[in-house]
Point group: none
Chain length 211, copies 4
């Protein structure tokens, strides 16, 4: 059907365009991670993405917009996953184990690790970035965690209310694992799973007191 040719053509174009956009985002993540936002050069991003420098500006208003969209596009999908997981009705410790697993496979083992590191390293200079992350990621994750904790506490599965008051205690070791990986892994490797489970042991007790 010749009538489809233009559609197919347009589709091919749109596809190529989308592919370039993704290539630019991936290259930008590489460069921003390696050099930091300010020191990263769009020249290098373009070369790494295999496009001309001007092409970046067809997809992103400027360097900062590229950075912001990079952060947003990588983390958004994960928040949904995490919220869905936290809504399940399973025993607290099993849930905690599952969240650790989710973090290790969906964050620590992926480029999301680099994105989180970028939020930590560049956030202080990008108030809007910190705000975006807080509103769209952090506050949602913390709310979901608090809700889950409350249900667990109601079932008497928590030895302490520390976690409810400070959901950050669950995230802290995860953040530190990411930072450790980038800074000190070469001097002293860290077993992420064991590390995170150790924190869980503190919350739930490895073996409950007296058992």
């Amino acid at each position: 059907m010749p009538a489809e040719t233009p559609r197919a053509t347009n589709g091919a174009r749109a596809q190529r365009s989308a592919a370039r956009r993704e290539a630019i985002l991936a290259a930008a993540l590489d460069e921003f991670s390696a050099q930091g936002f300010t020191a990263a050069r769009l020249d290098d991003v373009a070369r790494r993405a295999g496009v001309a420098k001007g092409t970046i500006y067809l997809h992103f208003r400027d360097k900062e917009a590229l950075f912001q969209e990079l952060i947003g596009s990588v983390l958004a999908p994960f928040v949904d996953t995490l919220e869905a997981a936290l809504a399940a009705d399973i025993p607290a410790r099993a849930m905690a184990d599952q969240i650790v697993e989710l973090f290790v496979t969906q964050v620590y083992g992926t480029r999301r690790q680099e994105v989180i590191r970028l939020i930590v390293t560049e956030g202080p200079r990008f108030p809007s970035l910190a705000e975006f992350y807080y509103r769209h990621v952090l506050s949602r994750v913390m709310a979901a965690m608090r809700e889950w904790m409350r249900r667990a506490a109601a079932r008497g599965e928590l030895a302490s209310d520390a976690f409810i008051r400070f959901p950050q205690l669950m995230g802290a070791p995860a953040i530190v694992a990411i930072l450790w990986h980038g800074l000190f892994e070469r001097f002293e490797p860290l077993d992420v799973r064991a590390f995170l489970h150790a924190q869980l042991d503190l919350v739930f007790g490895r073996k409950p007191c007296g058992e």
Copy 2:
């Protein structure tokens, strides 16, 4: 005493020189903290320090050397304090409380907070900085903590060995408190003392087991 005049003069000169050096370091910490290493401008450092731009180069080889010396000069003294504190022979929980207090007053409430944030934010781009910090600060602090934990465990004061295997679990909330302060304090303030004590409650139990 005229004989002393030259010495006194030299002394005064050296004093003025040292004062300038300190002023430059303080100004550099301000600017690096506010802008990040790459975006910070030596022009602003000089203006803030009240010296000419060229003067910086009389004290530091280049921008990077200034940054490295800045980091190195601030944390070292604190390690001694911490090691000394950890060597004391007091009950584990009391010791932990004391360390929290030390952190809050000697780190969180001082410029050391900014230095630690700089290590986290700039470390990925300065491998030598990460190494310096690991060797001269982190590994010493972790060793001292492990030793203290071991003594506490021997006295049966620890509900879990998680802390011994991962001393980072004690540091994680402290690091996260510093990062939170710079990133999200304006959206959701964090009570640092309560936060760190909540983690201690996990380790030692809010109320010891069986009480």
Copy 3:
């Protein structure tokens, strides 16, 4: 008539093409007038003309050719009108009044004003433009004016030969009126007709000598 369909189609095509060309020229005049040749962007010209950027290059070799054709196409028709008017055999002062009216309605009140301004503002950077304008417009207008003046002088209608030696004296206020309009109208409006008639009063005397 099926035989005509292709011709009609071709005619329609040619018509559409010519319409696009005109739209581009009109849009270009807008943009060049507002921004100047160098600062004007073909992107804006295309958008304003309702065509794609590439379409411009189907009608004009490059930005400079577009500019030159724009200038050339607007003024030429007017020269014929002016020459015809100047050939009429009427009293000098009446003729002068008529020329002023022609300028006000056919130049000052139309897009030709913008074109003349462009010749003045961009001419220094486009020697070929200045030459084209001189050869096809200015020299012809000046020659026609001189001829008219000579006839008027022969009839004793001119108080001075200044105008014959320097026909530019007639054009000068007209040019200045155009420039004033673009530069200072907002600070001090200028009544163009009165202004030009004032110059005529100088040449012919407000009331002819001796009356």
Copy 4:
């Protein structure tokens, strides 16, 4: 006196700095005149001035500030001269001749010609430039001219009030002479003095009517 050495040194520095500033202004006038503001490249300005590109920014905030200061610094002194000349109490025609001479020697024969051309060519794109010129040059000159004309009219030296109502009539040929010089001189040279005096003849009458 050794005490003077620093002063002399500072003086030499300041002198060199001022010389550079002047060199930049002169080079900028060259480039802006030849290329127009937008097309002129600061690289070329720097090369022509014999300084590094960055040096321009030690003296001028940006390209636009360089342009504005250029205009202002060249014309300001002349306005004083002109106002002073117009205040003198001499016969109108003698004054007019003197003003023509002033224009020919102090404007047309100097770089001021280029500056005036720049105001005309770049003014439409620089509202602030047009405003500056109107407020600090044009309105002052026109006011001084009107005042002079009024005195001349009171003495019965003017054949027409056209000049009082439109002082622009005196400036128009001067402006046109400048534009002609840049655009058409190579095709048809213009005797500026004769041209301007021809306009004066219109105002004052070469020989008064009937004489």
